[in-house]
């Protein structure tokens, strides 16, 4: 199928798509809240300004001034220059860009969700606490980890929480010399950063030629200083760590704990319990596996589950059910404290709850079945394309995603993975994740999810095939791609060398020039 795709391109001028709010500004303000005159009379002032001490008074406020229709149009035009999951397929590996069921948006927008204050008396928020409790309960069943906190705001926040709990656990046992966290080189960057933030020294474990944890290297690495190991399974190559039980034994044997990064849970939902893989603590990304939308970068939610031995270290408060209903329990004996004010991203929690209610036991297994089926189907077609190779695990089925290498293509044509990605934009599909994991040269990481139909899978493969063919026939098309998007390739080096991070900084530069 060879269609044509064009993204909207608003053009206010030759060089500007849509002016900034600051350029659109005129007048000195349109929106007003009305102060009731009776109040001022009662207070004996002419203007509320008189209530502010002289030394605290605001003198100038350079916000742009626009009327409501102008603001509405501005953001509509911007939206038209953005691509979402409802625009078309969006196979960003590791990100699980599945469809976001609209019912969940409607539920999360109910006043019974949005207009609850976090410090309301517990008896007035029984519904909210019940949703949190039930989600935790369902997640516990799906993972085999009995205790959950919903406080972390995202996956990386959950990693930090888990890493702190691991540290607290060892300190509690008088083993604070355990200061090393083992992490496979193929791991997501946030794993390393979270471990370091929690005070660990990071020890990187290489991959073997099958793309799995190198067992010999792991055996070398574990020891008295091992606090734990952070793993995702399937790993970031989309491959199941077949030695997972031995890995867990090895780490446990050395006195360490297993942290599981739940970013890839979509592959094994309803099919493997984390507890059966020896996992002690895990985060789940409610915005990946559990269908909450990604919001152009957030909000997400990072539920963290633990085995019995770690439950006393969970952040406070925890939602519990007592004789008189649900309540917030602050009496967790060895808690690591708080990682966030209040109780987490409740608005996101509601969406994950609704998703699991909708799927039920049967549905969760269909999710992982279809996600893995789709990925393998696409892999079976893509691996045959010229220029594509599979650097690791070529013999094995992939799980919910797979990583191809375009090093052959690059060698033969000079075209890079980046160029292919940019060309895919022209062909109407969102490109895969690029250059991750770092151990694969010219990597493209492809995750179709369970949301796309066979027809869409075929369409995507056709687009990729065409881009690869063009690389051999007419590489210039790729190097100058994209052309159908609102704007062409942008100078990222310039952006980093001369950072312009606000309109103020821009104006300052203009003045200097």
């Amino acid at each position: 199928m060879e269609g044509e795709f064009r993204q909207a391109r608003w053009a206010a001028g030759r060089d500007i798509l849509e002016p900034t709010l600051f350029e659109l500004s005129h007048g000195d303000g349109y929106y007003r809240f009305r102060v009731e005159p009776e109040l001022l009379e009662e207070l004996g002032v002419d203007s509320p300004e008189e209530l502010v001490p002289e030394n605290l008074m605001r003198r100038d406020l350079r916000l742009p001034s626009l009327a409501a229709p102008e603001v509405a149009r501005h953001f509509s035009r911007l939206a038209e220059m953005n691509y979402g999951v409802d625009s078309g397929s969006y196979w960003l590996g590791s990100c699980t860009m599945k469809y976001n069921p609209k019912l969940h948006e409607r539920l999360a927008a109910l006043p019974q969700v949005t207009r609850l204050h976090p410090y309301q008396p517990e008896e007035t928020v029984q519904g909210a606490l019940q949703i949190m409790f039930e989600l935790a309960e369902m997640l516990a069943k799906l993972t085999g980890l009995p205790h959950y906190t919903l406080q972390p705001a995202a996956g990386a926040h959950g990693e930090f929480t888990g890493a702190l709990m691991i540290r607290a656990y060892h300190e509690d046992r008088g083993e604070s010399q355990r200061d090393e966290m083992l992490i496979p080189v193929s791991a997501h960057g946030s794993n390393f950063a979270s471990a370091a933030m929690a005070g660990f020294k990071v020890v990187k474990i290489p991959s073997d030629e099958r793309g799995r944890v190198d067992m010999a290297a792991l055996r070398e690495a574990v020891g008295e200083r091992t606090a734990g190991m952070m793993l995702t399974n399937p790993n970031t190559l989309g491959l199941f760590e077949t030695e997972i039980l031995d890995i867990a034994d090895l780490v446990h044997g050395a006195g360490g704990l297993i942290y599981y990064d739940g970013a890839n849970l979509n592959a094994i939902l309803g099919r493997v319990l984390l507890s059966d893989m020896g996992v002690d603590v895990a985060h789940l990304n409610l915005h990946k596996t559990f269908s909450a939308p990604h919001g152009s970068g957030g909000p997400g939610a990072g539920a963290v589950g633990v085995v019995d031995g770690l439950k006393d270290f969970l952040p406070v408060p925890l939602v519990r059910r007592g004789e008189n209903g649900y309540y917030l329990d602050y009496s967790v004996p060895k808690t690591i404290g708080r990682v966030r004010a209040f109780y987490g991203n409740f608005g996101v929690v509601v969406k994950a709850w609704a998703y699991l209610k909708r799927l039920g036991s049967e549905g969760v297994r269909a999710v992982s079945g279809a996600a893995v089926l789709n990925a393998n189907y696409v892999l079976s077609k893509v691996r045959r394309l010229r220029g594509v190779s599979i650097q690791y695990g070529a013999e094995d089925p992939c799980k919910h995603e797979f990583v191809i290498s375009l090093k052959t293509l690059r060698r033969e044509t000079g075209v890079r993975a980046l160029d292919i990605a940019k060309r895919l934009l022209d062909l109407g599909v969102h490109p895969p994740t690029m250059y991750f994991p770092l151990i694969v040269e010219e990597a493209l990481m492809i995750e179709p999810t369970e949301s796309d139909s066979k027809r869409e899978l075929d369409r995507y493969v056709a687009a990729l095939e065409r881009a690869l063919r063009e690389a051999y026939e007419d590489p210039d098309i790729l190097k100058t791609a994209p052309r159908s998007t609102a704007v062409g390739r942008l100078d990222e080096v310039l952006a980093a060398r001369k950072p312009i991070l606000s309109w103020r900084m821009y104006e300052r530069l203009q003045e200097q020039a």
Binding site: Y31, G347, K357, F436, A486
Partner: protein, 468 residues
């Protein structure tokens, strides 16, 4: 489903309408093209020991109708600001959310998109986030901002970590008058490697006295932190003095803000702040039982600060042929490149909330932000006066200038019980602050926003008179 059907294969029943390929026929067709016998075969690399034969029992799935009905039934047990008048404060407030904010954040192009990794097809969210950064800079008087952190508390945690990195020192000077949960998060974030010097507030004024700050600051000080307004609703007055003191000692001044005050109160950037953190919830976000919120993070434009920013930052740049565009920038600070040496682990942030805040600030503009502050001030000062007229109650408890919230105290009132009696009268107040401050056990926090009319305030005053 329950296990496998007679053919040794998982039985397939279409579920939920969310999974287009999950029917016998399509699966057969796909497996046929792949030359694979069954879906189970695709899981053959999972050790037998770990493979479940059937799904854990989380109950039967429902259709849209039944899930909506169940959700509404459960959530219907809540009471909240839609059927009670909410005068609660303490880090979350029942501000008005203009309809346009919901409209924009409900556009699929924004809410279903991922982080803008492909800038050419994501100019919409990139420009909206650049505008968010720009608007935050104007409001706070700073020059550079990131595109969001999780909330105020984690923004404070990140600011402290950044101050430790930038100054290579180890002492953090913080006021006891800050939100207690934020200080807890700060402790979690910095861990045992930093020393936290907590300064008490003045018992009559509710702010930390400048001389105590000056005393606490020395050559080991990485930062001084103050909130503006603080947990008690008081604008910490000595921000400028504190900034002078910490600058003289070579540390950084970090100020936490409630942005709804900044239409009428001086910008912290004018008072010497090096880093401004804050809670974006008042800027077009709902209370949502505590989240999602929006961590504000802004700094001066000095390279030593910009290069140490946590989180994602959007920058303006150009195409080869000179067109203006936006990209995520300074990425070498971030976890996906710098790994364990990254400035922060944050990945997913609160981008959609930042877009909401951008719409809010664009819509309100200077007149909206000023009148927002003015209405809140008039409401709050009227309320303070009326409550103080009730025999047995005193408001505000502290003798200082308050913005939208303040403590009400009474010797003989058990506030935990009074809060509940007020619910029966259709009113929410709180929290009771004795929970964190034993010496303030006689005090409760009351906040007002632009949602409240004089009639609402009078109703609160009447109800307080009855329950005290």
């Amino acid at each position: 489903m329950r296990g496998k059907d007679s053919g040794g294969r998982e039985a397939v029943r279409p579920v939920t309408g969310l999974i287009p390929n999950w029917d016998e026929e399509t699966i057969e067709e796909m497996l046929g093209e792949m030359g694979v016998g069954s879906v189970e075969e695709l899981f053959r690399d999972v050790p037998e020991l770990a493979l479940l034969r059937e799904s854990p029992d989380i109950g039967e799935g429902g259709d849209e109708v039944s899930v909506e009905a169940e959700a509404e039934k459960i959530l219907g047990r809540n009471l909240g600001a839609w059927n009670l008048k909410c005068f609660m404060g303490g880090g979350s407030w029942d501000h008005y959310v203009p309809a346009l904010v919901d409209e924009v954040s409900g556009k699929q192009e924004f809410y279903t998109a991922y982080t803008p990794y492909q800038p050419e097809i994501s100019q919409g969210s990139l420009q909206a986030l650049f505008e968010y950064q720009s608007l935050i800079c104007e409001l706070t008087g700073m020059e550079a901002a990131n595109s969001s952190l999780y909330d105020w508390s984690t923004a404070l945690g990140e600011a402290a970590r950044m101050a430790l990195r930038v100054t290579r020192r180890r002492v953090l000077v913080v006021p006891r008058s800050a939100h207690p949960e934020r200080l807890e998060v700060l402790r979690t974030y910095v861990g045992p490697h930093a020393e936290i010097r907590e300064i008490n507030f003045d018992r009559s004024r509710g702010t930390v006295p400048l001389d105590r700050i000056e005393e606490a600051v020395d050559e080991d000080t990485a930062m001084v932190y103050l909130e503006y307004p603080n947990f008690f609703g008081v604008a910490e007055e000595p921000v400028e003095g504190a900034a002078d003191a910490v600058h003289r000692a070579g540390g950084l001044m970090v100020v936490g803000v409630d942005p709804s005050a900044l239409g009428v109160l001086r910008a912290p950037g004018e008072m010497g702040a090096d880093i401004v953190v804050g809670e974006g919830q008042p800027l077009g976000l709902y209370m949502s039982y505590g989240g999602p919120y929006l961590g504000i993070f802004a700094t001066r434009a000095e390279p030593r600060l910009i290069r140490q920013l946590p989180g994602r930052v959007i920058g303006m740049t150009r195409t080869a042929d000179g067109r203006r565009g936006y990209v995520m920038t300074l990425q070498t600070r971030e976890q996906h490149i710098r790994q364990e040496r990254a400035t922060s682990n944050i990945t997913t942030n609160e981008a959609l909330m930042a877009i909401r805040a951008a719409v809010y600030l664009a819509l309100l503009g200077p007149s909206g932000m000023r009148t927002l502050g003015e209405k809140i001030l008039a409401n709050s000062h009227y309320l303070q006066r009326r409550i103080s007229e009730i025999p047995g109650l005193s408001a505000p408890r502290f003798d200082s200038f308050h913005f939208k919230e303040f403590l009400v105290s009474a010797e003989s009132v058990d506030w935990r019980a009074a809060v509940r009696r007020l619910v029966e009268r259709g009113i929410l107040i709180g929290p009771w602050v004795g929970r964190w401050f034993p010496e303030l056990g006689d005090s409760v926090l009351i906040a007002t926003t632009e949602r409240h009319s004089k009639a609402d305030l009078d109703a609160l005053v009447a109800a307080l008179g009855e329950v005290k």
